[in-house]
């Protein structure tokens, strides 16, 4: 089964055929066809990677890397109808590899965040920025096992079957991973906000 995870097409079956054709042409070296595929998936993949990593700049860089890898290895894609699934798989691996190399979870500077947040403790636009950063930080700390499912279900609002197919996991695992991701997110959020409050309390004392 294949999915078009780009903007909804006017006619889905036509779009699937069109995409299969684009992939076949790109596999034969047609750069314009690959550019079309890039335009179709660029936004989705970058949004997914930015949420996976928690950093806009790195997410964009990894998007480029994802398409580079896709271009270089396009001939290894045996079923052109599964291009989207294949692309998401590459993007997910990119995110995992990046985090394994950079150990992002460990190096996201919580201390820096709390220090910054002290200077942003007044209400107003700064508060919004602080909350946004906190959400990104919590998201980046959700276990890598559950994060892709969590992002695709909760943020991207994709159906479970599509997520299972994109990530190559069982349909029954999607619900489990989403529930564990949601609960992890919740626990991490409370843990971090508690730490922040304790730190602020300590400073005041």
């Amino acid at each position: 089964m294949s999915y078009n995870v780009g903007d909804p097409p006017a006619n889905e079956s036509e779009n699937v055929l069109d995409e299969r054709d684009l992939v076949l042409r790109a596999q034969r070296g047609d750069q314009l066809a690959f550019e079309k595929l890039y335009e179709r998936y660029n936004d989705r993949i970058s949004r997914y990677l930015i949420r996976m990593i928690g950093d806009d700049g790195i997410g964009c860089e990894l998007t480029q890397e994802t398409f580079l890898k896709a271009w270089e290895n396009l001939l290894s894609l045996r079923d052109p109808a599964r291009f989207a699934n294949w692309l998401y798989r590459i993007a997910t691996n990119m995110a995992y590899n990046y985090q394994n190399h950079a150990r992002l979870i460990r190096t996201i500077p919580w201390e820096e965040y709390t220090e910054r947040s002290e200077s942003l403790s007044i209400s107003g636009p700064e508060r919004l920025i602080e909350e946004t950063e906190l959400m990104k930080l919590v998201l980046a700390r959700v276990s890598p096992t559950y994060r892709p499912c969590f992002i695709l279900y909760v943020i991207e609002k994709l159906p479970q079957r599509q997520i299972a197919d994109l990530l190559g996991i069982k349909l029954t695992s999607v619900g489990k991973y989403v529930s564990r991701g949601r609960e992890e997110f919740r626990q991490i959020y409370y843990r971090l906000t508690n730490e922040l409050q304790e730190k602020e309390g300590g400073k005041r004392r």
Partner: protein
């Protein structure tokens, strides 16, 4: 602020969108949420966080709307042999045609081979230099076996008591048994329907207990990977992350996501006692050498030491960080505790003293094991290394860095001469302990 977890049986339904549930499930969930404060609170939180995530501003940096003109020039792709191609630029066609001519093809091939050889030589030289510098600092052992037939991360490893076999549990839903001498695959156990996170070899005989994401602990025959007659699968309410078999072979302790550690009889499957651990995950359980106590390492940031007969807590230790791994010293005097603080602490649970803290890892410590003679500790980490060190001086004896992803698990061979380590890189590697 405190957050109570939702009821286990409703956790998955609470997390799904209303439209993803059947009408009867929706009704049942709504009725339950009206009467359960914990689930109502969790549901409200889930909605709140989802709304907040939906409201995240668009990225401040946008990806390029189109591929840069240099993209294809800088990253040429090899075309399939014998296939006719279309080309976006005349230059690429000329290049392709030039490569197709016989003379040019010979030159091209010679140059390619020469370039590959030069790169290989350079890589070997660099690798050798790095190895030599590592060896100078900490002599490391060479890889003896590369157990690489899993298609997912290796989450658990165990050596058979006689040292002849190695078992590896994986994200690919299987457990594999390997010949510890040759590295050949003996058999594959496929009884699990989800990720296998933990396994333990029976101290006597050839039975293995394995557990994981399908919420079961299964006991099976290690020599042919088939169900062991007379043993029933032990079901838990949630994912099983850790298993330990008592030294007398009679009892198994299992822990994971189901908010409690359970001790149950191997022969009857009967629950002997359970110890509540709250919302946090239990990643490690270990029997003391004389089976009188059990150490439980939990993400609630504590090591709980329990009376193995009653399940009553006799001691608890915290360093303020989630605990990923615990291991008893062979004399039962000390515990090695590895956690999210990238460190391993040597704790005396009888006097509540921390003897040493080993701080050489640069990532979360995910596995810890004391050597059979008690003279060394091996610790594995997300920093992709296993370090072998002296528990009484904290001196590093060797660093094994043969795996390309974080370490999940490790085990000493019964004679203490080798270690098997499992990693997210889909492999388990057997290597010699030196130094």
């Amino acid at each position: 602020m405190k957050s109570r977890p939702p009821c286990l049986e409703w956790r998955e339904k609470l997390a799904l969108r209303h439209e993803d549930l059947s009408p009867s499930e929706q009704q049942a969930l709504d009725a339950h949420v009206k009467t359960c404060d914990a689930c109502a609170s969790a549901l409200a939180d889930y909605h709140f966080f989802e709304a907040r995530l939906d409201a995240l501003p668009p990225p401040s940096i946008k990806p390029l709307p189109r591929l840069s003109p240099q993209f294809f020039e800088q990253h040429p792709r090899r075309l399939p042999q014998g296939e006719r191609a279309t080309f976006a630029t005349p230059a690429r066609r000329i290049m392709y045609q030039a490569r197709e001519s016989r003379g040019a093809r010979l030159i091209w091939r010679t140059l390619s081979v020469a370039a590959v050889l030069a790169l290989l030589l350079a890589a070997m030289l660099i690798f050798r230099l790095v190895s030599l510098s590592n060896l100078a600092a900490h002599p490391g052992g060479g890889t003896l076996l590369n157990l690489d037939q899993h298609t997912g991360g290796v989450m658990g490893v165990a050596w058979s008591p006689d040292g002849k076999y190695i078992a590896t549990a994986s994200e690919d839903h299987t457990v594999k048994i390997w010949d510890a001498q040759s590295g050949s695959l003996v058999c594959t156990y496929t009884g699990h329907s989800d990720v296998v996170y933990a396994l333990a070899w029976a101290p006597q005989g050839n039975l293995i207990a394995s557990g994981g994401g399908d919420n079961t602990v299964q006991i099976w025959n290690a020599l042919n990977c088939s169900p062991a007659p007379g043993y029933v699968s032990h079901s838990e309410a949630n994912i099983v992350m850790s298993i330990a078999w008592s030294h007398n072979g009679q009892t198994i302790i299992s822990g994971g996501w189901d908010d409690e550690v359970q001790a149950w009889s191997v022969s009857s499957g009967k629950l002997l006692w359970s110890f509540p651990t709250g919302v946090e995950v239990v990643l490690s359980v270990a029997w003391s050498p004389n089976d009188s106590q059990v150490a439980v390492g939990s993400w609630d940031r504590y090591v709980h030491v329990l009376n193995a007969q009653t399940g009553q807590q006799v001691y608890k230790y915290t360093n303020g960080q989630p605990v990923n791994a615990v291991s008893w010293s062979p004399d039962g005097k000390y515990l090695a505790v590895g956690g999210d603080n990238n460190a391993v602490e040597i704790v005396n649970p009888h006097t509540n003293q921390v003897l040493f803290t080993y701080t050489e890892h640069t990532g979360r410590v995910t596995a810890v094991a004391w050597s059979p003679d008690g003279q060394e500790i091996a610790s594995g980490s997300e920093d992709k290394t296993v370090r072998v060190w002296n528990p009484f001086t904290s001196k590093t004896l060797m660093v094994y860095s043969g795996q390309s992803q974080g370490i999940n698990s490790l085990a000493w061979s019964p004679d203490g001469s080798e270690i098997v380590s499992g990693s997210f890189d889909f492999t388990a590697k057997v290597w010699k302990v030196t130094g």
